[in-house]
């Protein structure tokens, strides 16, 4: 996804760049509808997603309710 950046005037400062909306506009249609996994393309992104999104199993330092215990 390409991030939209908007320039806005900040009080007492020059124009600053603000991250715009990050949702996908419109209603996806066809076979790809709902196929969210295509949003991460490269292997690095996929591994990053797994370590973050599937952190319950793959995070190095975060074990949710089990974080006081030794990892499995």
């Amino acid at each position: 996804m390409e991030y939209k950046v908007e320039k806005k005037n900040a009080p007492g400062r020059e124009q600053v760049e603000v991250l715009g909306p990050t949702f996908e506009e419109g209603k996806p249609e066809g076979e790809e509808m709902g196929h969210w996994r295509q949003k991460v393309a490269s292997r690095e992104e996929k591994l990053k997603y797994l370590r973050n999104g599937e952190r319950y199993w793959f995070s190095q330092d975060w074990f949710g309710s089990e974080k006081r215990k030794n990892p499995a």
Binding site: E31, M33, Y49, L50, G53, W57, G64, S65, E66, K69
Partner: protein, 653 residues
């Protein structure tokens, strides 16, 4: 009319039962009337494992049994009613585990063939899931190709079936406390095939004759299903065919088309079905169908193969287990193509009244009187093409006696645990936190899995609907697999709008915010392993205890019929989940065995069985259990929100 309604609550089904009677076709609903269940077998009081019997050891009805009577009420070998009942139960677990295990093995071998490039037409579709398994299993990723990684994963998975010692690899995914409970009770499965073989040995004449020991061993066998064979099948199928994501489709016999060649694929394993979905779009075959007078090819699914195709491609579903013969009764079905499991032999007899071809495709599942067209994975496209062509050729034989019920319903499927995680948190922070938070704050009371089959001994789809509606009305989020998912789909419960109409206000508000139905389609019966993963994610996210048995969750199979369901129930209970079965229960003839399953198992595993044929009462049992867990967690009462000002914050420090 009342008698007819007692057979099903589905209007398409009732219409086709009528048509079958008019056409002189025999279907399951009629056979269930003429063949009554054996009362001795139904309660688990018959032992037929050796040639000294069969021995019947029923408890006397309506009179007190003396000690002497009780001593005499044993098999010829002296096996007590407890031993006999437990052995029968464990044999069902072994058969169910073997079925899911064999499915998993075939998928694992197929996966390895795909990885090695020996199955043309198939590829690794979901790299992310491949990497997920690689991380799980400790397979080196680095700069290696997907194929190399897949070969390592395939070999590790195949090894799980024949392993003789150690622990199954996916058991590491479970909450730590759960693993400790399993180890403490000696039920960590070692190898999938080994657990099935040992269960069959233990239940052989003259081996394990302690019902508690038998039933505990049954937990180990069943865990080899849920955290073994089933999980392997689900995970590897996701890699090859794609991890399910929400997809809109439709369901019921009305998905058949009057002017097209109708093909139904029925069974459980998706490799043929995936290729059929591709082949049916082949322009050459569509043109060929037109030369026969049809306007095209219409592929639909039945049972769990249907679930697999639905959640990955949106292929419509013609119906669930009890509707398989009724699809033929429409007179509009050119071929019913079957693979394995839950395929009634009655299909052939029903088809003899119409033009439908019953085509078996798997070497393990042939049916007398059916046409066998082997599906060869190394030559998948051509195999599938030959099957579709046979169906097209049969179109010209369609008679005039065609009536397709008009009933069909939109539904959304494809809620894998990865997708639920994504839907709740988005790409940047996929999470089960919103689910846990809404359980803690009471908008969602708990989560219930309602799964399993249909059974003509109870009105088709009725128990499921009564149960599911009661659960969501009481703010319990429902997840479903198999034929029960289809029953809810047909009733319009698997669309987001259902939340407003059927769900309690708390659940409805969460469903509306996330944009999901109150009843989530999680997949085929093999995909109950996805539910194990979701519950584990709930535990690991925190705030709801540190084991699956701490969660406010429950499970049910209100219309179960197959041995696979017993295996699933046992691994759910063994994983800490309260599980209610409807229809009948195979240990009701023995109080001691039933007490172990219904009471003692909770002390050992945190989960226990229950039997309640009334679906409303069963739902209330589930809700009561969920409330019990909420109370234990201290989240049973709404707490007043206090907004802290600075002085209060300072006071905290």
């Amino acid at each position: 009319m009342a008698e007819k309604e007692a057979k099903s609550i589905d209007l398409a089904t009732l219409e086709m039962i009528d048509k079958a009677a008019q056409d002189g076709a025999h279907v399951v609903f009629e056979r269930a009337e003429t063949t009554r269940p054996c009362p001795i077998g139904a309660e688990g009081s018959c032992c037929s494992i050796c040639a000294m019997g069969p021995c019947r050891v029923m408890a006397p009805k309506g009179k007190q049994e003396t000690l002497e009577d009780r001593r005499r009420r044993v098999g010829v070998c002296g096996a007590t009613p407890e031993t006999i009942s437990a052995r029968n139960f464990v044999r069902k677990i072994a058969a169910g585990t073997a079925s899911h295990g064999d499915h998993g093995r075939v998928v694992a071998k197929f996966f390895l063939a795909v990885a090695k490039g020996e199955a043309p037409g198939y590829e690794i579709k979901d790299e992310q899931k491949l990497l997920q398994l690689a991380l799980d299993l400790g397979v080196t990723i680095g700069d290696r190709s997907n194929k190399d990684i897949a070969v390592d994963i395939g070999n590790l998975m195949i090894n799980e079936f024949g392993k003789q010692e150690g622990e199954l690899l996916f058991l590491r995914r479970a909450p730590l406390k759960r693993q400790e409970i399993w180890r403490k009770n000696g039920v960590m499965p070692r190898g999938i095939d080994m657990e099935v073989a040992e269960a069959m040995h233990r239940t052989h004449m003259g081996t394990d004759q302690d019902y508690r020991d038998l039933l505990t061993a049954g937990v180990r066998t069943a865990l080899a299903d849920g955290w073994g064979g089933s999980m392997i099948a689900t995970e590897l199928q996701d890699i090859i065919f794609g991890t399910p994501a929400p997809v809109l489709s439709s369901i019921n016999l009305g998905v058949l088309a009057e002017d097209k060649v109708n093909i139904i694929i029925h069974g459980h394993e998706p490799s043929l079905a995936e290729m059929m979905a591709t082949v049916c779009q082949d322009p050459e075959l569509i043109e060929y169908a037109k030369t026969k007078g049809a306007k095209g090819i219409n592929l639909a699914g039945m049972c769990c193969t249907a679930n697999e195709m639905l959640m990955r491609h949106g292929v419509p579903i013609a119906g669930n287990f009890l509707q398989q013969e009724l699809a033929i009764v429409t007179g509009a079905l050119e071929a019913i193509v079957v693979d394995v499991q839950c395929i009634m032999q009655g299909l052939v007899d029903t088809a003899s009244c119409y033009h439908t071809k019953v085509i078996t495709t798997d070497a393990r599942a042939k049916i007398q009187g059916a046409t066998h067209m082997p599906f060869e994975e190394h030559n998948a496209y051509e195999s599938a093409k030959a099957i579709v062509k046979a169906a097209i050729d049969n179109y010209v034989n369609r008679g005039k006696n065609v009536r397709i019920p008009k009933y069909k319903q939109d539904m959304i499927a494809g809620f894998s645990h990865e997708t639920i995680n994504y839907l709740l948190g988005g790409m940047f922070r996929a999470s089960y936190r919103p689910l846990n938070d809404n359980i803690i704050n009471g908008r969602i009371r708990g989560v219930a899995a309602v799964v399993g089959c249909n059974n003509p001994r109870t009105p088709h789809d009725a128990s499921n609907l009564i149960m599911v509606k009661e659960l969501i009305k009481n703010d319990v989020l429902v997840v479903q697999t198999g034929c029960m998912a289809m029953a809810s789909g047909k009733a319009g419960l698997m669309v987001p709008e259902a939340a407003k109409e059927f769900a309690g206000p708390g659940l409805a508000s969460v469903c509306e915010a996330v944009g999901i139905p109150p009843v989530l389609h999680v997949g085929a019966c093999i995909d109950n392993s996805r539910i194990l993963m979701s519950t584990t994610a709930m535990v690991k996210d925190g705030g709801l205890g540190d084991d699956i048995s701490d969660l406010p969750v429950a499970a049910a199979a209100p219309e179960w019929m197959s041995e696979k369901a017993i295996a699933i129930g046992q691994y759910a209970v063994g994983s800490g989940v309260f599980t209610v079965f409807g229809c009948n229960f195979p240990t009701t003839g023995n109080k001691e065995v039933s007490d172990f399953l219904f009471k003692e198992m909770e002390e050992i595993f945190g989960g226990m069985w229950a039997f309640e044929p009334d679906p409303l009462k069963a739902a209330q049992l589930m809700i009561a259990h969920i409330d019990k867990k909420r109370k234990a967690l201290g989240i049973d009462k709404a707490r007043e929100r206090v907004l802290y000002d600075m002085a209060m914050r300072r006071a905290l420090e």
